[in-house]
């Protein structure tokens, strides 16, 4: 019988996308639907003296205009994670209003919504809204935000800190170890601010039905149930069972569509006010100004080594921007998703990270592909490569010297880090060894020497990363400040004819769940894949769900489905035993049928399904039906790891970097569909390359964004990138039923330091030790001249 796990099954969702028949939110038109446009502040920090909507109200087609003075002005969107100050003071958490009333705190903050019959009418009328602003000084840099006298983002607090935090060993102990270390390497840099840039802009339609008193919110989100919960319980105070949140096809997320945004709450509120559906779709500049950004850490770090090159201590201080308001997961990103990965793949015995998280007059920073882990990996992998160069040790050798020895998490225990986590299983030697083989590392070093002699600047950069995925055990994240559980829900409904509908709280926005989830369900039930359908993205269909982020869909969402499959088979066995007149323990299940061991007596999955719904001859006391829902709360995070190696050539005249080769050997545990895993890695790698070479959100001193369009914000295009060479090792996750770890973010985590290490390697003989990202030709050229 055909099996599906581990095979590159082509995606069933592709047909609709390739025919232009996807169902993205902006594609939906509802009867009597209105359109909306926002009036947004051109200032980063300002007093709003007055808002005059008189002329706008007279404009053609206007249905309603609301400002912060209306009753919606009292609502705000919440933060979902609380990180208190080291001294015990509660995290400072400002109201994030749906519309700013008196004070503007970042460019693009909305002061009014204009609702009209057509989009053009809404935009025309929005231009007629007169707002009188008094511009004030702003601060956009997280380090400057903490300097005395910096403009305050929120006047109710004496400085701009939202919280501070530390993790690891005692600071004095770490400092002492650094003082007595054989060699100490140091770095100061900025992990620059990035815009996630899903190609589909955010889009919402709120539809209040007067007769039923129910809302439907169509939204481009990664987690429809979470949005419903936040919207109902924390923003508008409306009953959760009266709200349906629908998120069909979503055009990429990368983190930016996790969060509950002000626009979706405001549309939901306003739809009831006007009694009609309202649509809003962001344009690209609004996306730059209002989608949550990523990264923006200012970093100062020291790493100490002994004579043999073993790391003895690591101390880092960071300023991590929160933006003007706390986005849904923001406080978790530079703390529990970041500091907890400071062990990396190394045996470092002493680690201390100190984080200060200031408010800035910018849009919020939150999780962007990798979320805290790319920042940790960048720091560790740059420090290791820099130290290797300074100590004249090969960067691969220095890594091998410091790796945690292999452990499978079953026969050998998990690895307890200095920074709270216990890794599940790992073989870090394996991925580096394979990566070096794939590249032909020794041959490359010879080629590099020859090239250098002829004036050609070639470089190679290595990065060996680990990440924490599959968040998470709810009790653990709860103790760390999460205000939600982080389990997942998976329901399996066997229809009377033996066809199977699977309902998942995970959400696909490119990951291919409709295919991959059907692969393992079909295998576990021993039925054709065509008999399995995956449903997601509709709170009326699925009991609950925490959604897709942190590479958690398969390890958490998949495990929930497996639990339900197991319940189906357990109940099915009772029905089969009854039909076969045998004891349950004498049955075995394979290839879609229960067979009495050692006989040819069997009953098929389809027959048992029908019997469950037509229970004429049926086990006594057993409920009819074959339909189970399960919640799965993992016992640990999962820890994928890998080696990424970049080869670059730097143009000696212009400083332009060309990525010549990119090699990735990742270990994501067991693999359900290698085609999809490769695709996730390739895409992630290119986002990581984008950070290294091209991308940066820039705010000027006054808080204006200078990079608010595709003319100003450079992202990788097809001709910036070579083919990505991928391979894998397989170290199964020991604590979930599929043995999977997650692959969604690995590329974006491993790639960035590999590329920067390669450029620095190419220029090392010129005395270059570091270049600030993104490595634009200008920056590289300047570094070469110095």
């Amino acid at each position: 019988m055909e099996t599906f796990i581990g095979k590159p099954i082509k995606r069933r969702e592709d047909a609709r996308f390739l025919k232009g028949a996807g169902r993205y939110t902006d594609d939906i038109k509802l009867p009597k639907m209105t359109h909306s446009a926002f009036v947004r502040s051109p200032y980063a920090h300002a007093n709003v003296r007055s808002i005059d909507t008189t002329e706008a109200n007279k404009a053609d087609g206007v249905v309603a205009i609301y400002t912060g003075s209306d009753s919606c002005g009292t609502f705000g969107v919440p933060c979902g994670w609380q990180v208190d100050f080291k001294n015990g003071e509660t995290m400072r958490e400002p109201l994030h209003p749906l519309l700013a009333k008196d004070k503007i705190k970042h460019v693009g903050e909305a002061v009014a919504i204009v609702i009209a019959e057509t989009l053009e009418q809404a935009r025309d009328a929005a231009e007629l809204v007169q707002v009188d602003y008094e511009s004030l000084p702003a601060v956009t840099d997280p380090r400057k935000a903490m300097e005395p006298g910096a403009p305050l983002v929120h006047e109710e607090w004496p400085d701009n800190a939202s919280f501070d935090w530390c993790i690891g060993n005692d600071r004095a102990e770490v400092e002492a170890a650094l003082d007595s270390a054989h060699y100490v390497t140091e770095m100061e840099f900025r992990n620059q601010r990035l815009a996630p840039n899903a190609i589909e802009p955010r889009s919402y339609i709120a539809d209040y039905d007067v007769n039923s008193g129910k809302w439907t919110l169509y939204t481009s989100t990664q987690n429809p149930h979470l949005i419903r919960l936040l919207l109902c319980a924390f923003v508008l105070g409306i009953p959760e069972h009266k709200v349906r949140v629908v998120s069909y096809d979503v055009g990429g997320g990368f983190g930016s569509k996790i969060y509950h945004y002000t626009e979706e709450a405001l549309l939901t509120w306003a739809s009831k006010e006007i009694g009609r559906p309202i649509k809003w779709t962001s344009d690209r500049t609004e996306a730059f100004l209002t989608d949550a950004h990523g990264r923006d850490h200012v970093v100062k770090s020291k790493m100490g080594f002994d004579k043999e090159g073993k790391i003895v201590a690591h101390l880092t201080d960071e300023f991590c921007a929160m933006g003007a308001y706390l986005s849904t997961f923001a406080p978790a990103v530079p703390t529990y998703l970041h500091g907890t990965l400071f062990q990396g793949v190394y045996t470092t015995p002493l680690i201390h990270l100190n984080v200060t998280a200031p408010f800035t007059h910018t849009v919020a920073v939150d999780a962007y592909r990798g979320a805290g882990r790319p920042e940790a990996t960048y720091l560790l992998e740059r420090m290791i490569s820099k130290a290797a160069k300074e100590m004249d040790i090969d960067p691969a050798d220095l890594r091998f010297k410091n790796f945690i020895p292999p452990f499978d998490g079953v026969n050998e225990p998990g690895y307890q880090t200095q920074v709270a986590l216990q890794y599940d299983s790992g073989n870090y030697h394996g991925v580096l060894k394979r990566g070096l083989e794939m590249l032909g590392y020794e041959d490359f070093r010879k080629e590099q020497a020859v090239a250098r002699a002829s004036g050609k600047l070639l470089g190679v950069g290595i990065s060996t990363y680990i990440e924490g995925c599959g968040i998470a055990p709810s009790a653990v994240v709860g103790s760390l400040g999460a205000r939600a559980g982080l389990y997942e829900v998976g329901a399996v409904r066997v229809q009377p004819t033996g066809k199977v509908s699977v309902f998942t709280g995970s959400h696909s926005h490119g990951q291919g769940h409709e295919t991959v989830f059907a692969q393992f369900v079909a295998d576990k039930l021993g039925i054709p894949m065509d008999d399995v359908e995956i449903e997601h993205g509709d709170t009326d269909q699925v009991a609950f769900g925490m959604g897709t982020y942190g590479s958690r869909s398969l390890s958490v969402g998949g495990s929930a489905i497996i639990k339900s499959v197991e319940k189906i088979l357990e109940k099915g066995a009772k029905i089969a035993a009854h039909k076969l007149e045998a004891a349950e323990e004498d049955l075995e299940y394979a290839e879609g049928k229960w067979t009495v061991k050692g006989t040819d007596k069997s009953v098929s999955f389809g027959d048992v399904s029908l019997t469950a719904y037509v229970p004429h001859d049926y086990p006594e006391g057993l409920e009819p039906g074959l339909d189970f829902s399960s919640f799965y709360d993992p016992t640990n995070f999962t820890y994928p790891f890998g080696t990424h190696i970049a080869v670059v050539e730097v143009d000696s005249d212009t400083g332009k970097v060309t990525l010549k080769r990119f090699v990735a050997c990742d270990d994501v545990g067991n693999v359900m569909n290698p085609m999809i895993v490769d695709g996730q890695i390739q895409g992630g790698v290119v986002q990581g390359v984008g950070q290294a070479l091209l991308e940066e959100v820039i705010y000027d001193e006054s808080g204006q964004m200078l990079s608010g369009s595709y003319m100003d914000y450079a992202m990788p295009r097809a001709d910036d990138i070579p083919m990505i060479e991928t391979d894998r090792t397989v170290t199964p996750c020991p604590h979930n039923p599929l043995g999977v770890k997650g692959a969604g973010e690995a590329g974006a985590i491993g790639a960035t330091p590999a590329v920067v290490n390669a450029v620095v390697d190419a220029l090392a003989h010129l005395g270059v030790t570091d270049i600030q990202m993104p490595l634009t030709p200008q920056r590289v050229w300047k570094a070469m001249q110095n």
Partner: protein, 154 residues
Amino acid sequence: MNISITVNGKVHTHDIEPRVSLAQFLRENLDLTGTHIGCDTSGCGACTITLDGSAVKSCTLLAVQADGGEITTIEGMANGDEMHPIQAAFKENHGLQCGFCTPGMVMTAVDILKNNADPTEEEIRHGLEGNFCRCTGYHNIVKSIQHAAEQMKG
């Protein structure tokens, strides 16, 4: 203004405002929502269609500029259930993930292969330079177009 445009082989006559972009016209007036708008400024290429046989970005062309023209959108590529070789190649090579940039990629590929039946990897990458994909890293999109070129030659 009255315009008459042939879209996917069918003539459409509409009275529209002069400021309506071709992308909006296709999506709002003709309900052809396969043409996506990712940026409004020609930067991302999600709105790419072919006009009189050449790929253009429909977000920065006014509908009135296409008056009298012949347009193919993603919806006009398949022949009933049978996908165009380029569409089939994208599926075969996992050339799409979230699917949002995909219509623009496919229509750009039409143009690339029309002008060059046997493009090199470099020529394909250069031809895709006006289209962003944030999911695939372009790897499988390039492979899809290489594969389509082979299929269409044979």
